[in-house]
């Protein structure tokens, strides 16, 4: 009783969620870059410059360069993150890459979410040998390491954006099947399902109209996490040479190109895209966490 005397209370609902805010900011920033990134960089991300392996400016040079680029007195726009061994401007490529990475990640996520939710619904709602078989197949798919499966698939089907999307979608679909199915198993015994049955609604209509919309929450929350990891996986595939083809701006590709020069002390072509990936994946992950806390 009296132990609360000096405490002030704020309703839990109104508490500002920092995690959520950080997540939203990062995700919004990356999305914005996916839309306009390729056009706002100082250089075309797919064209080389004559200056190779230029290091990024030191901190003391930055104010002068900033002034110079605004007053248009420099002979060429500054390379904020340096250039790599082929002469690509690292900064332009880093901010152009979300278009590639995010597009692949979003497409892969929504393809797998769509397929996974429908299959999960069918597997949970109609339990028979067919759906049991489906679950075992999805177990097998899930038991391969995600990265290896994706790598093999891309290697077999060819290095195009579409194939990467399909490969990622295939490895993420079992997760969505499982999540949706678990929720459907709970929701299919709800009173409103029986009520719909009592008014003669066909089973398939009950499944899609009543059960599916009420079973989507966990899968939607998982989406945020999946998108983050899909970006990581896309970059990983490029890094091992099974991703998009150069000179498409893509973080993993940039890291991979720069990696050869690290030994010569050229750290910048790899480190900056690496930081970009970390921030992005972190952003999607905390957003997913915050959403989960809010809706569960």
């Amino acid at each position: 009783m009296n132990e609360f005397a000096d405490t002030t209370f704020a309703a839990p609902k109104r508490r500002f969620n920092w995690l959520f805010a950080i997540g939203v900011t990062i995700v919004a920033g990356v999305t914005l870059l996916a839309l306009i990134g390729p056009y706002i960089g100082p250089y075309d991300p797919t064209l080389t410059t004559p200056r190779v392996s230029v290091p990024p400016p030191s901190l003391s040079e930055i104010p002068g360069l900033l002034f110079g680029s605004f007053s248009n007195t420099l002979e060429h726009p500054p390379h904020w993150m340096g250039t790599d061994s082929s002469g690509y401007d690292v900064f332009s490529r880093v901010i152009a890459a979300p278009r590639t990475d995010l597009t692949i990640a979003l497409a892969a996520n929504f393809v797998s979410l769509g397929i996974g939710a429908v299959l999960g619904l069918l597997a949970g709602y109609f339990r028979n040998w067919g759906t049991e078989l489906l679950m075992r197949v999805s177990d097998v798919l899930q038991s391969f390491p995600v990265f290896i499966s994706a790598m093999v698939l891309v290697a077999l089907a060819g290095r195009s954006m579409g194939n990467i999307v399909l490969a990622l979608a295939l490895v993420y679909t079992p997760i969505y099947i499982r999540l949706t199915r678990a929720e459907v198993l709970q929701k299919k015994v709800a009173g409103y399902v029986e009520a719909a049955r009592a008014m003669g609604t066909p089973e398939i209509a009950i499944a899609f109209r009543h059960v599916l919309p009420n079973s989507m929450t966990p899968a939607l929350i998982q989406s945020s996490v999946t998108i983050g990891f899909a970006i990581l996986l896309t970059s990983g595939l490029s890094f091992v040479g099974a991703g998009v083809r150069p000179p498409t701006p893509e973080w993993g590709l940039s890291i991979s190109t720069g990696a050869n020069q690290i030994i010569l002390g050229e750290w910048w072509p790899s480190v900056f895209p690496g930081i970009a990936i970390s921030i992005t994946v972190f952003g999607f992950a905390v957003l997913g966490n915050a959403l989960e806390e809010r809706y569960e």
């Binding site: 009783m1 009296n2 132990e3 609360f4 209370f9 704020a10 309703a11 609902k13 109104r14 709800a190 009173g191 409103y192 029986e194 009520a195 719909a196 049955r197 009592a198 008014m199 003669g200 609604t201 009543h210 919309p213 009420n214």
Partner: protein, 611 residues
């Protein structure tokens, strides 16, 4: 008991607040009450009215983040609201203890119950572990648990709900507290067990000379066990009266409202439907078995069920949980496929139709589910929920459907504006009306209601029952009302069928069965039911028709009469010969050879008389 006696507990202007949106909401806002030694005081109020909050606050307990904002609770010369947590701990258990709603949740699953009782006892005495164990056995015996020496070593999950609740009572009373706060101690238990348990609690408290604060929504429990009644409304005690006065002449509007139904009916029984009416439903045979997973056994949920319902007639189907009532209801509307059946609806056998052919009948037979929250799709608007049956079953334009939705909203007494809302945040009473509206939208001739009032607060329950009575009269719908609440059946139904272990054991007009039940099970059920009538309190008339034990497993059915193992009149014949349902001269049917041969119906106190 003398009113001059010094109160045991005296709460003055108690305020409990929970922070919400920058200020405090106050579920308890200036409640004052007294409890005298050895007195049984009832606390009644709606769900969410703050009953439990108030009861806990009397022990100085408030669930975080709430706190006591004002007032005092004087107990034994000290103000509990001013004590530190440590000083309070000494009070709890020794002077005041509590029994909460969910016994299994309140018992520690990892500690044997004997040890839990012993710990509760030893926390306030200097007893050794051996003495604690002896005390635990003594307490378990006192609360009527068979074989207490063995049960002290049981874990919570090994006990049935009723036994777990008894163990809780044993724990609460181990240190002989002067006040026992019982918060809905029997919610979720069956009537027969509920009565046994309350009897036992009442008796134990009489023996230990404690006082009880019985928190309940159930007028029956209040009327049968309490000396004095407190009504909580808007955070205040609005009425404080001796139990008979409370039921006979309630003063406050809230009390009048919860007692309204009780007063409206008086001694009358609902009028019978004319004999000329056709049977809308004839169940000649209904058997439902469920296979048990990974074994060859089956659960005999319903066996040999027969019932006729006339057009426009309301029939009550009563029995303990596990008796198969709900399964029958589901088979009748074909939510389940019966193992064997002849169910004639308006002359057509619908028992073996496939789901596609059944669609023709769906608009004429409807079902209302028990849980109002669960039975509406939370993502749909009320309007979409209501017109779903029309989309499926009727050929209507959008405007016609809308018009019909507005009509049924009016029929169930809800404002049309509600149509645009989603169910979220609507109360149980409103949602159950929406469910009823949805069931009525296709103008059915027969409606099955599966315990539609079991989760409602007293006021909402009364209103809903009145509504159902009105609808049945106005629309002439036949009802099958599945419930364990005999008070409601008595108000609403013309006929009643009593079910036990998947069979009907007795059937007749409500008047016949309620005034002269012939089957021992009906007798016990009526005896155990707590009618809200303080002039015929259970505690004043000990009875002998109580049943022993609990309902047997429906997997291994007994050979003879299903009730034989619990029946006080059972003999060898009962145990060996299966019983058939036979019609007596006055139209009542009963499944008991002894009752058939009796000239006079069993004597029974007119438990349904009202004040």
């Amino acid at each position: 008991m003398s009113n001059l006696e010094k109160p045991l507990l005296d709460a003055r202007d108690l305020i409990v607040g929970y922070p919400s949106g920058g200020h405090y909401s106050r579920p308890v806002n200036g409640a004052s009450l007294t409890i005298r030694p050895r007195e049984v005081v009832g606390l009644i109020g709606d769900a969410g009215s703050g009953k439990s909050t108030l009861a806990l606050a009397l022990m100085g307990l408030v669930q975080a983040p709430g706190r006591i904002l004002g007032g005092s609770v004087e107990f034994g010369g000290q103000d509990l609201t001013k004590l530190s947590e440590d000083e309070l701990r000494a009070f709890r258990g020794r002077d005041i203890s509590a029994i909460v709603q969910n016994p299994r949740g309140a018992l520690n699953p990892l500690i044997r119950i004997g040890e839990q009782i012993s710990n509760a006892y030893r926390a306030h005495t200097r007893a050794t572990p051996a003495e604690g164990r002896a005390k635990a056995i003594e307490m378990l015996t006192m609360v009527g648990i068979n074989d207490p020496e063995r049960r002290v070593n049981a874990y919570a999950h090994e006990l049935s709900g009723g036994m777990a609740q008894r163990a809780m009572i044993a724990m609460a009373l181990a240190a002989k507290p002067r006040l026992l706060i019982a918060d809905e101690p029997t919610s979720g238990l069956d009537v027969t067990i509920q009565a046994q348990l309350l009897d036992q609690m009442w008796q134990t408290v009489q023996d230990t000379e404690s006082a009880i604060l019985l928190v309940s929504q159930d007028l029956g429990a209040i009327a049968n066990y309490c000396d004095r009644v407190l009504a909580l409304h808007d955070g205040k005690i609005v009425e404080d009266a001796p139990v008979r006065q409370f039921f006979a002449m309630p003063q406050h509007d809230y009390s009048k409202e919860i007692l309204g139904l009780h007063h409206a009916q008086g001694d009358r029984f609902p009028e019978q439907v004319s004999d000329a009416a056709n049977d809308i439903l004839e169940v000649e045979k209904l058997r439902m078995e469920f296979p048990v997973r990974n074994s060859d056994n089956v659960v005999h949920a319903v066996g040999d069920f027969r019932l006729n319902i006339k057009a426009g007639e309301a029939v009550g189907l009563v029995g303990e949980s596990g008796s198969g009532k709900t399964t029958v209801g589901r088979c009748l509307v074909r939510l389940l496929d019966p193992t064997e059946s002849i169910i004639r609806f308006d002359g057509f056998d619908i028992g073996s139709l496939d789901q596609r052919s059944m669609r023709k009948f769906r608009s004429r037979i409807q079902f209302v589910f028990q849980d109002p929250f669960d039975s509406v799709n939370p993502r749909w608007s009320v309007s979409d929920i209501l017109i779903e049956p029309l989309r499926q079953l009727a050929d209507m334009s959008r405007a016609e459907r809308r018009k019909r939705a507005e009509e049924v909203m009016e029929l169930v007494g809800l404002p049309v504006e509600l149509l645009e809302r989603k169910p979220r945040g609507l109360g149980a009473g409103i949602l159950q009306r929406i469910n009823i509206a949805r069931a009525l939208i296709c103008e059915p001739e027969f409606l099955v209601l599966d315990e539609p009032t079991s989760v409602l607060a007293p006021r909402a329950r009364n209103a809903l029952i009145e509504l159902l009575g009105k609808l049945q009269k106005e629309l002439g719908i036949a009802l099958l009302f599945i419930t364990h609440d005999l008070t409601t059946v008595r108000y609403l139904c013309q006929r009643v069928a009593v079910m036990y272990l998947g069979q009907i054991v007795e059937e007749g007009s409500v008047e016949q069965v309620f005034t002269a039940p012939r089957h021992p099970y009906s007798q016990a059920l009526l005896e155990a039911h707590l009618f809200p009538d303080p002039d015929h309190r259970r505690v004043d008339h000990p009875s002998d028709s109580a049943l022993d034990g609990e309902i047997p497993s429906p997997i291994d059915l007994p050979t003879g009469c299903y009730l034989a193992s619990r029946c006080p009149h059972a003999d060898e014949t009962c145990r060996s010969i299966p019983q058939n349902l036979s019609v007596l001269s006055d139209g009542q049917t009963v499944r008991c050879w002894k009752a058939e041969h009796e000239e006079e119906p069993a004597e029974m106190a007119p438990a349904t008389k009202t004040g």
